[in-house]
């Protein structure tokens, strides 16, 4: 049987276990973006996040036969993305900031948003305010907004409960608002 784009994760995982590359490709297309978002939230560097994301998928498919299916494939993939990013972070020890140029490029891509508010100064202000948030709050906000992760998934990544992840997110957003309103 050939895997289709609408085939469920469960079936795709079984196919990938038997070495079907088509099934692996569909899983990659489905989850690379959210895994990249997770890597990006931790590493804060596009090149490093790309490397971590590639390594993450290699690890996923190397050990896919050990995936027991207790949780969802998505959660499992995100946990591997988190571990891979943390390992890379420990390895490189330094966290580089995203350059303003990159942020500007993002804004140019989004015409309706760039029309709205952001000047270079404001991007810089948001970034600075963001950096002052405690680590868990910063990660929770990033993972929720950048990666669109559920609070349960965020909890797994920041090693908290679902409720604590929700609280971290809301405190982070509130604190960010206070900082930007000053």
């Amino acid at each position: 049987m050939k895997p289709q784009k609408q085939t469920s994760d469960e079936v795709l995982v079984r196919m990938a276990c038997s070495g079907q590359l088509d099934a692996m490709d569909i899983l990659i297309d489905r989850y690379y973006s959210v895994c990249f978002g997770t890597c990006m939230a931790i590493l804060q560097d596009q090149d490093h996040a790309s490397d971590a994301c590639q390594n993450c998928f290699v690890k996923i498919f190397r050990s896919i036969s050990r995936f027991r299916g207790d949780g969802t494939f998505r959660s499992w993939a995100l946990t591997i993305a988190r571990n891979e990013s943390l390992a890379l972070l420990r390895q490189r020890k330094t966290r580089r900031e995203i350059t303003y140029d990159k942020a500007d490029l993002q804004l140019q891509d989004k015409e309706n948003v760039s029309e709205k508010i952001f000047s270079k100064m404001e991007v810089s202000r948001v970034r600075k305010a963001f950096e002052t948030l405690p680590k868990k709050q910063r990660l929770a906000v990033k993972l929720r907004i950048d990666g669109g992760l559920s609070f349960r998934e965020i909890g797994q990544i920041i090693e908290s409960s679902e409720g604590a992840a929700r609280v971290s997110y809301h405190h982070g957003v509130r604190k960010l608002r206070e900082l930007l309103e000053q």
Binding site: L21, M24, D25, I28, D29, Y32, S33, F36, G37, M40, Q46, A49, S50, C53, Q54, F57, V58, F61, R62, I98, K102, A103, Q106, L107, D109, K110, V113, S114, K116, I117, F118, V123, V126, R127, F130, V141, R144, I145, D146, G148, R166, Y169, H170, V173, L176, R177, L180
Partner: protein, 149 residues
């Protein structure tokens, strides 16, 4: 129709910013946000943060797929490559023993050669253990006597 409270609405603002809500829920939430300054400000902040996010590079899925294929190919190659050192060692030992046999044959005197070990199968103490000298050419016998002497 649900009338949203701030506490409930804020849980869904990030989903609203990401366009992930069903149309009916989105409309209800929009109604609340348009009449609530606090939620409106928070939604604006979330939309701004969302706009600042760094998207995955478009070539990333192709890079991942390529890397995965390289890894799989490497594993398959490794599965037979891992036997190469053992095979090379075996081939070396076999060829070394052949070379040894062909090139380094020891010079053995007639007395040390195997055919001299053959002895009379006799219970007679005088004859038992005597060398078998049948089928020896005269030249070989002379050489033997030379050596014994």
């Amino acid at each position: 129709m649900i009338v949203w409270e701030c506490i409930e609405a804020k849980r869904y603002l990030s989903s609203l910013a990401r366009d992930e809500l069903p149309e009916s829920v989105e409309a209800e939430l929009d109604l609340h946000v348009s009449s609530c300054v606090d939620c409106s400000n928070e939604l604006e902040l979330i939309r701004n943060l969302f706009a600042l996010r760094v998207l995955a590079p478009s070539e990333l899925p192709y890079k991942i797929k390529r890397k995965l294929r390289e890894e799989i190919f490497e594993v398959e190659t490794l599965s037979w490559k891992k036997f190469l050192p053992a095979a090379a060692m075996a081939a070396f030992l076999v060829s070394a023993s052949l070379i040894d046999r062909v090139l380094f044959l020891p010079e053995v005197s007639l007395l040390e050669q195997d055919f001299f070990v053959e002895v009379w199968p006799s219970d007679d103490y005088d004859l038992a253990g005597s060398l078998v000298l049948d089928n020896f050419s005269e030249e070989s016998l002379n050489l033997l006597f030379e050596e014994i002497r």
